[in-house]
């Protein structure tokens, strides 16, 4: 017995199994072999994930901190600068961390943009504590953004900059551009940033005046704790965790997929609280009163008129975005005073528009090819 190989034993066993062997095609055998091999790999990766979970390395593109203001940081990424005009990227405040835009090497928006030769700056709003509960949207628009934009101009040695707003960074940065003509913005890009809040979907309904008392909420809790932010986002797509775990099991044999999943999962479970006053103004002025689109918003004593924006404009909406549906993003195109403006609607959801394989295929090349000749 000791001299006999295991494979021979199995072969002897299968030979004696029955007369069906001749009818089995080699393709079917090959298919089964692949399936069994996948299952072996699934178990191996599951074992590693459970017994020795590796902390995924995220945000690896080299960068330098240019400026800090309270919790906010301005980072400049190393690039082979081929375009003169720098790009200031303004993501959402609160909710999640911005390393999703630089998640893994060879697969992130920031890496793509720096490889394309853009002088890329990221505004990281930071993680807020109770001492920041007094921070408002107005503070972000009139105090933080102008300062960061000036620092971009100073450090890049240019007279103009481009601004890209993503998600909540869209309406916040668009308010800044519309109210600060003294800061020369050469190009403006809005990616999945809601503008017309009358078309904003489920969150619009849940946060409406009739159903949500924002004053009571902020006065009681002081801020929006990270757990509440998480609950809100989980509720908007309750089956998300189920399909994520099912897809994980299905692709668990694939080491590359597992690596990507671990990084994405780390990000997806790291929620960030909202400062109380920011949330109050955000819900009341934007969601409930739709003041930005109606032209009734005032920031730092200056009326926010979207028609004041006259620079070239590029707006990107995501077809399956349930946080900022495409129709509320597209509204910016009709509201600005720009002569050169373009809207594209790409496949994907709110996150997959800018992060992941689909984004690398559909979104990033569109953004860089639009911005490149204008920078």
């Amino acid at each position: 017995m000791g001299q006999e190989r295991f494979a021979d034993v199995v072969e002897r066993f299968t030979d004696g199994f029955g007369p069906a062997a001749p009818s089995v095609s080699p393709e079917t055998i090959k298919q089964w072999q692949e399936e069994l091999d996948k299952n072996y790999r699934r178990l191996r990766n599951l074992h590693t994930m459970v017994t020795n979970p590796a902390e995924p390395k995220v945000g690896q593109t080299p960068r330098e901190e240019i400026y800090r203001k309270n919790k906010s940081r301005l980072y400049r990424y190393a690039s082979s600068r081929r375009h003169r005009t720098p790009l200031l990227f303004v993501p959402n405040l609160g909710i999640s961390r911005p390393y999703i835009f630089d998640l893994l090497p060879n697969g992130s928006f920031i890496e793509h943009m720096t490889r394309e030769g853009f002088d890329f700056y990221l505004l990281d709003w930071g993680v807020f504590g109770p001492e920041d509960n007094g921070l408002t949207v107005e503070d972000c628009v009139t105090k933080i953004l102008p300062r960061m934009a000036r620092k971009v101009l100073e450090t890049s040695g240019t007279e103009e900059l481009s601004v890209l707003g993503y998600c909540m960074g869209g309406p916040v940065s668009v308010s800044f551009v519309a109210t600060h003509p003294e800061i020369p913005v050469k190009n403006y890009i809005n990616m999945a940033g809601p503008i017309d809040f009358s078309k904003v979907g489920l969150f619009g309904l849940w946060l409406s005046k009739e159903h949500f008392n924002v004053d009571r909420f902020v006065d009681t809790l002081g801020s929006v704790p990270a757990d509440m932010v998480k609950a809100g986002f989980k509720l908007i797509k309750p089956t998300m965790d189920l399909s994520t775990n099912l897809n994980l099991w299905w692709n668990l044999w694939n080491d590359k997929y597992v690596e990507g999943f671990q990084a994405l999962n780390k990000w997806a479970n790291e929620y960030v609280a909202f400062p109380g006053e920011f949330f109050r103004q955000w819900v009341r002025d934007f969601y409930q009163d739709n003041k930005l689109y109606r032209g009734e918003l005032v920031m730092g004593g200056r009326p926010v008129r979207l028609s004041n924006i006259t620079c070239p404009l590029f707006v990107v909406g995501a077809k399956e975005d349930y946080i900022a549906p495409p129709e509320c993003v597209r509204a910016l195109v009709g509201a600005v005073g720009s002569r050169e403006k373009e809207y594209v609607e790409l496949p994907g959801g709110h996150i997959s528009l800018i992060a992941g394989r689909g984004a690398a295929l559909h979104c990033w090349p569109k953004v860089s090819s639009w911005l490149g000749p204008r920078s």
Partner: protein, 170 residues
């Protein structure tokens, strides 16, 4: 597959274990002590590959096909998607929004006095132990933020003066 008895599988497993143990013994006795540690996968891979091939042949004789797995996954995807749509439609109704708003309101109404009382008690306890409270630390942090803003305003003022001086002809 239906004819295979648990005993046959157990025998297979036992044989595999015995063979593996013997192979490991051989491998370890042949390796010089200073050599780099052997990679177990290098040893197991050919055996596993052949084993897989034979198991694959065994499974292939059954009426089931690996496509069934894909079909099962597709079914689950569709099932989740269908539930997602149903839940989305339910959550998109005025009734759901109203119910959620009411639940949140009642939570906040009950939470507010409890939170206030708890905060007060914690504050008193910390004071008794001569320790700073959260609100005191928050107040200090706020002062630092305000100081930072003042410095920024000063920096702006100095910067503006310097720019004006640089522009003026000497």
């Amino acid at each position: 597959m239906a004819d295979t008895t648990p005993n046959q599988f157990f025998d297979l497993w036992k044989q595999q274990l015995e063979e593996g143990t013997q192979a490991w013994t051989r491998l370890l006795s042949q390796q010089p002590p200073a050599a780099t540690p052997p990679n177990p996968m290098n040893f197991w891979k050919p055996i596993l590959d052949q084993g897989l091939q034979n198991w694959a042949r065994l499974f292939a004789q059954s009426p089931a096909s690996p496509d069934l797995m894909t079909q099962w996954k597709q079914f689950l995807d569709q099932w989740i998607e269908a539930w997602s749509k149903v839940l989305g439609q339910t959550m998109g109704t005025e009734q759901f929004a109203k119910l959620m708003g009411q639940s949140l309101d009642s939570f906040l109404v009950s939470q507010a006095p409890m939170k206030r009382a708890l905060d007060q008690q914690v504050e008193q306890a910390l004071q008794a132990f001569n320790l700073p409270s959260r609100s005191q630390l928050t107040a200090v942090a706020k002062q630092i933020v305000e100081l930072e803003e003042r410095i920024e305003r000063l920096e702006d003022g100095v910067g503006a003066v310097l720019r004006r001086l640089n522009k003026e002809p000497t």
